[in-house]
């Protein structure tokens, strides 16, 4: 029985599929959250230099990684939506943006709280934190452009183009900020993965998986709402929303 995957490219079919997947993603995400927190707080030992406050990285590092990955995934969907004119990809792009922006904000917040005991200041113009701040601006640009255009079709296509231009610029920005940072302060301490205790690594990857599944669940839920909003005048919507 060959599953015709293209059937799910249609927003209306995707609505049902997403509905079935969300509980699984949400459930596994909670399980992994619990596991990650347990390993992170009850198994991983204190760090030699940083004592106990290093445990913030179990949230800071995964959210930074995911905020970047989600931006690229968003730009990918945006490109698909523009090139193949598929409405579902455009909806996915605008569904990912808020979650990506929140991850960028969380990464900045936890970065600041980690920076205070580490470097003695709430905000340090460290290369990673600065690039994360710029990534947050790119997200806000995407969201506000999409919000300020009334016609949904133009909103999707305009913000998609912005996401693609943004994704081309992200590496340039990351490089130039790192260049700018080494120019002024010399490179900050590298938190290389190898020197970390194995339990720390496990906690980090578990939290990363948990956050990734969480993002999937929230994005799918949001895309379902977007599909419903866009199809509200169709009979299909009336049946689904009965």
């Amino acid at each position: 029985m060959a599953i015709n995957w293209f059937k799910y490219a249609a927003p209306t079919n995707f609505y049902g599929l997403a509905g079935k997947l969300i509980p699984w993603f949400a459930g596994f995400s909670l399980v992994l959250f619990a596991a990650g927190m347990y390993i992170g707080f009850f198994v991983a030992p204190a760090d030699a230099q940083q004592g106990e406050f290093y445990r913030i990285i179990f949230i800071h590092v995964p959210t930074s990684i995911l905020s970047m990955v989600l931006y690229m995934v968003m730009a990918g969907y945006a490109a698909l939506g523009l090139i193949f004119n598929t409405r579902l990809s455009a909806m996915m792009a605008s569904a990912i943006a808020p979650t990506g922006a929140l991850f960028a904000f969380i990464s900045l917040w936890t970065g600041a709280l980690w920076g205070k005991p580490m470097w003695g200041a709430w905000w340090v113009w460290d290369a990673r934190l600065t690039s994360e701040l710029i990534l947050l601006f790119l997200y806000l640009g995407f969201i506000s452009l999409h919000a300020s255009i009334d016609d949904p079709r133009r909103a999707d296509r305009a913000s998609a183009l912005l996401a693609i231009v943004g994704s081309v610029n992200v590496p340039i920005i990351y490089f130039s900020v790192k260049w700018w940072n080494t120019l002024h302060q010399g490179s900050t301490i590298k938190f290389s993965g190898t020197s970390m205790h194995v339990a720390m690594q496990q906690a980090m990857f578990t939290m990363l998986a948990a956050l990734w599944l969480y993002a999937l669940a929230v994005v799918l839920a949001r895309v379902r709402s977007i599909i419903l909003e866009r199809e509200r005048h169709t009979h299909w919507a009336q049946e689904v929303a009965a």
């Binding site: 506000s144 300020s148 305009a158 183009l161 912005l162 943004g166 610029n169 920005i173 120019l183």
Partner: protein
Amino acid sequence: MKLLVLVIRRDLMLAMRRRADVLTTLFFFVMVVSLFPLGVGPEMDMLRKMAAGVLWVAALLSSMLSLGRLFATDYLDGTLEQMLLAPQSLSMLVLGKMIAHWMVSGLPLVLMAPVLGLQFDMSVQALGILIVGLLLGTPILSMIGAIGAALTLGLRGGGVLLSLLVLPLCIPVLIFGTGAVEAIANGQSVASHLSLLGAVLVLALVFTPWVTAQALRISME
């Protein structure tokens, strides 16, 4: 090629008929730069250190200011529609508009920068590098700004939204431009900074006209 020259001549002719708009961009640039010593204090060594940064940020803001009009007036009176129907490539036409915008808003900044640089007691070499940096950098601001102007065509809060979209993308230009001036001040070589700026300029020259053309088609739907 003829279309490019035609569009540049057209936009320059229009700009000359509305000379005031050209001057407002320049006056804004001068005013913003002159505000900083009032805010930070007159100590010369402090001002010298931040001169490049102040001039570059002011250049960034004043080119944002005039970007709104790049397509807006043509959109309102219907000439933009006719441009979209031009039998030559729209990218070439858009490149013409970008060049015309740069000549009206970017070039005056470059010419005015040395005068303002003296206010900040910049050394002659630093001024020289600043001008070369601005010459390479301001066209990039016009080109990336044109993408924002095309995307926010006809939207309510267009001006502010335009800056929110475009400024993050201009950060590398700001970093390389100011970095070059700082390098010369510390006696290091500026080759790397300016070559990076040149690389971004070439990248922008190749991609932004096409992207802006796509943005215009999307906005004109």
